[in-house]
Point group: C2
Chain length 301, copies 2
């Protein structure tokens, strides 16, 4: 377990370092937007998506460096989605990771634009930042272009954004189990699936490997969101860095509110096991991915 912590810290460090190097300085002109971008991007996120991307690249025998632009792009898109979701017109949250949200600190206009800029810059980085393997492989452009397509699809109207729309429109309505799972799979799962998918793709995986690892990300993504629902109900606000019980207070349907706490916990574990089973043909290289899946369902923040 200690080794895995070390591995995680190493990947997170690589992601943070890459993000820092590929963003303008905080005092670049005009400063407000760069301050706002860095404020949210370096707010102590878990870096789950980019870590998943790098571990997926290694699981197919690639180098983690090959997947760094994709890993960074995923974290930037995740961060933009949080900034926009927290806006007064959306979830109206003023606390995130224990800190005031972007619009509270910088105002709504800059928060909207910081989100827009992060989304745009994610595609810019994935389209332009070269890595060493681009020269070595036969089809670097084709893989990058495929990666861009997968990322845009996952983040778009049939993925993350679509999930947020359905979620918003379900407020105050009775949400059934099918719709809730659809929301979770689109709003959270699509980007987690893309994180795994892009790692395997840019790590040079075969189509079968990519499909297995994307499936892994899909199941882990749903498991992650079910655990999020459980933590909102039962978690310690100090550890969460956000208000617990928020869904309950808002009368929002969650996995445990529909299925009960026990079944929710069981489902999350089951999904993680299904995800891990998909990795078996990949052998020991995929062990870190499996550990990541277990951590995801065992976490308490």
């Amino acid at each position: 377990m200690l080794d895995f912590d070390h591995y995680l810290a190493e990947l997170r460090g690589a992601v943070d370092d890459f993000l820092d190097r590929n963003l303008p300085a905080e005092n670049a002109y005009p400063p407000s937007i760069h301050k706002a971008i860095r404020y949210s991007l370096f707010a102590g996120g878990k870096r789950l998506r980019p870590v998943l991307t790098l571990a997926a690249a290694e699981a197919v025998g690639g180098r983690r460096e090959d997947a760094l632009p994709a890993a960074a792009a995923l974290e930037m898109i995740h961060t933009y989605s949080l900034i926009h979701d927290d806006l007064p017109a959306m979830d109206n949250d003023d606390l995130r990771r224990g800190k005031p949200t972007s619009h509270v600190v910088f105002g709504e206009a800059i928060a909207i634009l910081a989100g827009d800029a992060l989304l745009t810059h994610a595609f810019h980085i994935l389209a332009t930042v070269c890595v060493s393997s681009d020269r070595a492989k036969g089809d670097p452009y084709a893989r990058r272009l495929r990666a861009l397509g997968v990322l845009a699809a996952a983040a778009g109207m049939n993925g993350m954004i679509g999930g947020q729309v359905i979620d918003l429109e379900s407020e105050g309505k009775k949400v059934d189990a099918v719709t809730l799972e659809r929301i979770h799979r689109m709003k959270t799962g699509a980007l987690m699936e893309a994180a795994a998918h892009l790692g395997a793709l840019l790590g040079g995986g075969s189509d079968e490997e990519i499909e297995r690892i994307a499936g892994f990300g899909r199941e882990v993504g749903l498991a992650f969101q079910i655990v999020d629902d459980l933590l909102d109900r039962e978690g310690d606000p100090a550890e969460l860095g956000k208000t617990a019980g928020k869904d309950l207070k808002a009368g929002k349907a969650t996995y445990p509110s529909i299925h009960g706490t026990e079944r929710a916990r069981h489902r999350a574990k089951e999904l993680a096991e299904q995800a891990i089973a998909l990795l078996s043909p990949l052998g020991p290289k995929a062990e870190p991915l499996a550990m990541l899946a277990r951590r995801t369902v065992e976490r308490n923040s």
Copy 2:
């Protein structure tokens, strides 16, 4: 002149048709977002950017079809920027092209998400939609990837978004001529430059041709914005489809407010002529681009 009107109508038709075919139907699930996207995208925009892209492809001897995904992406990014700029937290506009703005019709949350979705889908289309020439040319992936990089840079924090940030932060302050030109070049010019650049690139132009046509777009973009400033001051609201005199009322610096109406008009014409001069080595194929530049400074809406 009648022929040029026919040419414009043809290109606009090709763009509208492509957009329609590459977007989910209005009643796709969840309907609110798709209604909102189509409401703004088909609100009667001039399609100046995508027309520029298609004409630029033809100016280097390419087929307009080659540049359709880029043309559509540019119009989607332009439309998203209008939706977000109109939000209450930004310019707080409730009229656009003679119709209520997106947030007035669909609410702020859906307007923000429709903008996000258009931005994301623009990259999706440019990364994924194949055109016939992709098979014929030697390096289709490399050109597409370059196009994605150029588009993301133009739309991002050092381009359009950066310009909007500087514009917002200049409100109520004295803006000098240098800053105003910077705002115009970033907020409007960057995307116009990208529109021309992408057309030349995907039409298969040489590096020199691409550079000339991008420069053309850059100068026409500034001219376009100066004319916008002039129309805001002097235009007929019925023809503009938006409130005239808005900048004046808001005490906002514009090209005519700093330089006077006569100099502004002169500068716009001068920029158009400079832009047209860049095209001379391209010969008659570039004539439609030159006509477009003249139209841009002679328009009254």
